[in-house]
């Protein structure tokens, strides 16, 4: 009798403590490429992810839980990133992790699947990491590069005159980042009635691009899609192509779509296009307005403009929070399996303008919008509505 009384009392006490007492903490860790080759984005990715989580705490989105964010710099080095991942797992035991690169995602997969079993998001848009059969715990916070190619090709096909087969060239780097969507791009182009007339491979950061541009000149494509570069040699290629009198439209995927490239290109940016999975910081949408307001309050020095990498970090944070919210609301424990199951239930989720309607299929949200550079204003403006691909 006393035993049951005691245990009832204990249960009551425990219940009282969870509702009235200290909020339970959920830890989110990140390996961020703040220094090294990826530093141009790393600091902003980190700021975006951290701010997004802090913002969710302020709004109290995950009821009764306090989210804490911590990170380490990895210098964009796979070995250091894996070491850092293991250290954080051992010391802090976070419920969710964020990774710095495709390489890190691949390197930790065996242990993520067999040992850690936590939700894992990253900077990567690699198609490989969005395969739930081999990578059940990782997801891509947006469309993969293949999806981004699909969005661009769909846009090109739709804009083509009847009976005309648009001619496209793929211009990519000899890296994983560069080659990732090429095979799918060729397949998808054939399906949409687009001819891939040239494939040009160049080094990241190349300066002399004469041969490559001559190849383009021979093939006379209507569109050139860049993949696997961030900045150089994109401006060099566009400039040389204009010098040769090419009337091609140049397009890019996410990493080459920040407004910095318009400044770099100057007048040659006229007509430059590309796909961005997210909206721009300066857009007048409820979510972007809230993000700007938050920045004005918390980081007044940087509130004027935030690059796309910041938005990517922010959106990834939103996905984490949404998966947590759904898991906690369903009364389930916060485990990797439950979080990934919650992720799969995200359907037509309205982000109020961070991106289009978000639906997670195969651990990715295949949505994006085509933007065109406005040289006079120095910004990108939408050239299409949100495009959804499978």
């Amino acid at each position: 009798m006393t035993m049951t009384l005691k245990s009832t009392f204990a249960a009551l006490l425990a219940a009282a403590m969870t509702t009235a007492g200290a909020q339970e903490e959920i830890k989110i860790g990140a390996c961020q490429p703040i220094t090294g080759r990826f530093a141009f984005a790393g600091g902003q990715l980190n700021a975006g992810l951290g701010d997004s989580i802090a913002f969710a705490n302020e709004q109290g989105i995950v009821k009764g839980k306090k989210l804490t964010y911590f990170f380490e710099d990895t210098g964009y080095d796979t070995e250091k990133a894996v070491a850092s991942f293991k250290k954080m797992m051992a010391q802090q035991n976070p419920a969710i992790m964020y990774g710095e690169s495709t390489g890190q995602g691949k390197a930790i997969t065996p242990e993520l699947n067999s040992k850690y079993k936590i939700m894992y998001g990253s900077t990567s848009f690699s198609s490989e990491l969005a395969d739930p059969t081999t990578h059940p715990y990782s997801f891509v916070s947006g469309p993969t590069y293949s999806d981004q190619f699909g969005i661009l090709l769909q846009y090109i096909a739709k804009g083509a005159a009847k009976g005309v087969r648009p001619k496209v060239a793929f211009f990519y780097s000899d890296t994983e980042f560069g080659k990732d969507p090429i095979a799918w791009g060729k397949q998808r182009a054939a399906e949409l009635g687009i001819d891939v007339v040239a494939e040009v491979v160049a080094k990241v950061g190349a300066v002399d691009v004469t041969t490559e541009v001559l190849n383009l000149k021979k093939a006379k494509p209507d569109f050139v899609i860049f993949q696997g570069f961030v900045m150089a040699p994109i401006p060099e290629v566009i400039r040389a192509a204009r010098d040769h009198g090419l009337k091609t439209t140049f397009m890019s995927t996410f990493w080459s779509m920040d407004k910095g490239i318009i400044e770099k290109l100057g007048e040659d940016a006229e007509g430059y296009m590309g796909v961005n999975p997210y909206g721009y910081y300066y857009e007048d949408t409820p979510a972007m307005n809230a993000m700007r307001k938050y920045n004005e309050r918390v980081h007044p020095a940087e509130a004027k403009y935030r690059p796309n990498s910041y938005i990517q970090g922010w959106f990834t944070g939103m996905v984490y929070v949404e998966a947590l919210r759904r898991t906690v609301a369903a009364g389930k424990p916060v485990t990797g399996d439950n979080l990934m199951a919650a992720l799969a239930t995200i359907k037509d989720w309205d982000t109020n303008g961070i991106t289009g309607k978000v639906t997670f299929v195969n651990n990715k949200a295949a949505v994006g919008r085509v933007y065109r550079a406005n040289v006079a204003k120095g910004i990108f403006e939408p050239a299409s509505d949100w495009i959804y691909v499978k």
Partner: protein, 347 residues
């Protein structure tokens, strides 16, 4: 206290352990190495494995560069050849790890023999450029020979297994890495007590005199390349079972430079120095990162300017070591040891 070191035979002069004390210390070190995985966490085991694999690779480079005097900028590519050969042997041929890893060593050894051929005609910086070419060509092959190497996505490999025991965690892989690292260190230390090893040193010190003494230069240089690449290949094979994936981006030129940094910081032509170098180059940046991380607890914004600082500090440390002790960490170690031989008496 050691007051003298009197040797009465060539065998004594060649001995690796000059005193009973140094032999005893080795046993202590071995004891620590065996006890380590039972007390260390995942993070430290991961780092230890990294150090072990890098030690084997750096030993290979030290045999070639430090002991034979042939500079190589392509060492990372040989590690890559070993890694790919091991991965292909394991996945395509289904070989167990105890055959696949030596297969990696063998493949790298053959690649090394090929790349070493020009060393008969060219030396010094010219040879460095020739080996740099090997690095670039091999990297290109890793990326573009899609049918064999899996292209940019690389090859995923299952953990090593032995009689149903799987080396799937860092703790288990540690025994594999530590065992092989110990064996290869022992083999390298003994190599220079043989005719082949002494020939290497003779070639390094003066190749023409070596030839006059009857050493076949070409054969010696090629064997140095082969042994060196074999070590690289074994490191590559272990890498595969450690990382469980091999991609072309794992073996860049910067890794070759890192191996060179290890042997230069540790001590060219010193086995002990190679160990010090591998430990230093792998662990010091980690330590600096921990310091930076600690500092951010006090000031969260410190990361943005402290993070690049660690690279500067690391670079300055390397320059400092080289200025104050050009013979590397191994010599610093020797000096400390000599100090304690006479301690507490002054010199």
């Amino acid at each position: 206290m050691l007051i003298g070191n009197y040797k009465v035979s060539y065998a004594a002069d060649q001995a690796i352990f000059r005193t009973p004390a140094s032999r005893a210390w080795l046993w202590v070190l071995l004891g620590v190495a065996v006890a380590f995985p039972f007390v260390a966490g995942d993070y430290f085991l991961y780092l230890a494995n990294l150090v072990g694999i890098f030690t084997i690779a750096a030993l290979g480079l030290n045999i070639l560069t430090g002991f034979t005097g042939q500079i190589s900028l392509g060492h990372a590519a040989f590690v890559g050849v070993g890694a790919y050969a091991t991965a292909i042997a394991a996945t395509r041929l289904g070989l167990p790890f105890w055959l696949a890893v030596p297969a990696g060593g063998l493949a790298a050894c053959l690649a090394g023999a090929l790349v070493g051929t020009p060393s008969l005609r060219i030396k010094g910086l010219y040879l460095a450029i020739a080996t740099l070419a090997a690095q670039v060509i091999l990297e290109w092959v890793f990326t573009n020979w899609t049918g064999m190497t899996g292209g940019i996505r690389g090859i995923n490999v299952a953990p090593a297994g032995l009689w149903g025991f799987e080396f799937d965690t860092d703790r288990r892989v540690y025994f594999l890495v530590a065992g092989l690292a110990a064996f290869h260190t022992w083999a390298a230390a003994n190599l220079f007590r043989t005719r082949v090893g002494r020939a290497f040193i003779a070639v390094r010190d003066r190749d023409i005199s070596a030839e006059l003494m009857g050493i076949d230069l070409f054969r010696t240089k090629i064997s140095a390349f082969m042994i060196s690449s074999y070590y690289a290949g074994i490191a590559g094979g272990l890498w595969v079972y450690f990382a469980k994936v091999v991609t072309p981006e794992s073996f860049p030129l910067s890794l070759s430079i890192q191996f060179l940094a290890m042997i230069i910081v540790g001590g060219l032509g010193s086995i002990k120095g190679t160990l010090f170098g591998a430990v230093f180059v792998t662990l010091v940046p980690e330590g600096l990162r921990a310091v930076v991380q600690g500092a951010t607890a006090y000031s969260p914004d410190a990361m943005s300017w402290l993070a690049p600082m660690k690279d500067i500090v690391f670079g300055a440390m390397i320059v400092g070591f080289l200025v104050f002790e050009p013979h590397g960490l191994a010599e610093i170690w020797n000096r400390i040891r000599r100090f304690f031989w006479l301690w507490p008496f002054p010199k």
